[in-house]
Symmetry: C2
Subunit: 146 residues, 2 copies
DNA sequence: ATAACTCGTCAATCCGCTTGTCTATTTGGA
DNA sequence: TCCAAATAGACAAGCGGATTGACGAGTTAT
């Protein structure tokens, strides 16, 4: 009956733990100047073709906030600004090698965080879980939400 | 193979959407002065026996931050402070009738957000999903995570 | 050509949270 | 029993990440 409420709590608990574990692991791998929110920026930038305005929309924040974030990531050496081929106003964002390294670290951390869960459920059941969640997942960007 | 990465993204996407939908719905039900983070406070306060310090620990923030949050919720009429029966320093927190109303609104919103998912998967599959997630869910408080 | 729009920036401000300090009270060990 | 240490909560200052607002430079549409 009240699966629904339980389900909400579970999803929230799980995502909280996931974010926490990934962040901790990425920190331990030497990227101590990155916080969870940065991951969402990396996700968009690594996809390519992003300008600051694109990033702002992806993150659901103002251009100014995105610009500040980009400035920080540039200063820390994770992101580069390139001239935009067709628009003299805009600048294309790209990850530096360090940025890619951080991305790989985060991916690995995510896999590590999920691994024990996979084991608890067993391979088959885990696959079903992923399949089910895929049906439910909204399209569009993944944003920090609160 | 890379179910793991997909799974992470799915959980994050789902929880983001969940938080967003609940917040929107609660707002529309007339509680426009509440934000997602408040829900986590309500969860602890409604359980009973909470002091500001307890709340701080539950939320994973400093006592001062919790005190500010409580002050805000008291001012807005959602929370009351009562004298603590055994400790003259402490004050017991409790929800006002308005606070309970907001809690019910959030619960209802959560159910409404989950309902379509339940429908997509079907009753049986949904139950399995909840069961699986229950196995994975960490114990302890649910906190805002980024 | 020009009006409307968009990219990125500068500036001011807001808000939630932190660190640091303090008093009142409780607790626990000599 | 007494006193030192720990705890609840309040006050104050400051920070970081976000907002709103205004602007020049460049682009697009009429």
């Amino acid at each position: 009956m009240d699966d629904a409420l339980a389900f909400s709590a579970l999803v929230l608990a799980l995502s909280g733990q996931l974010v926490q574990e990934i962040h901790t692991s990425v920190s331990q791998q030497g990227f101590q100047d990155l916080r969870p929110a940065h991951g969402f920026a990396f996700a968009r930038i690594s996809a390519g073709g992003a300008t600051t305005a694109d990033l702002a929309e992806h993150l659901g924040v103002t251009k100014q906030a995105a610009a500040q974030l980009v400035e920080e990531l540039v200063r820390k050496g994770y992101v580069e600004r390139h001239p935009h081929p067709h628009d003299a106003r805009a600048r294309l964002l790209g990850l530096t090698e360090t940025g890619w390294a951080a991305t790989r670290a985060a991916d690995q951390a995510a896999r590590a965080a999920v691994a024990p869960w996979r084991e608890v459920l067993g391979e088959a059941r885990f696959s079903e879980l992923v399949a089910d969640l895929t049906l439910l997942a909204p399209p569009g960007p993944i944003r920090p939400a609160w």
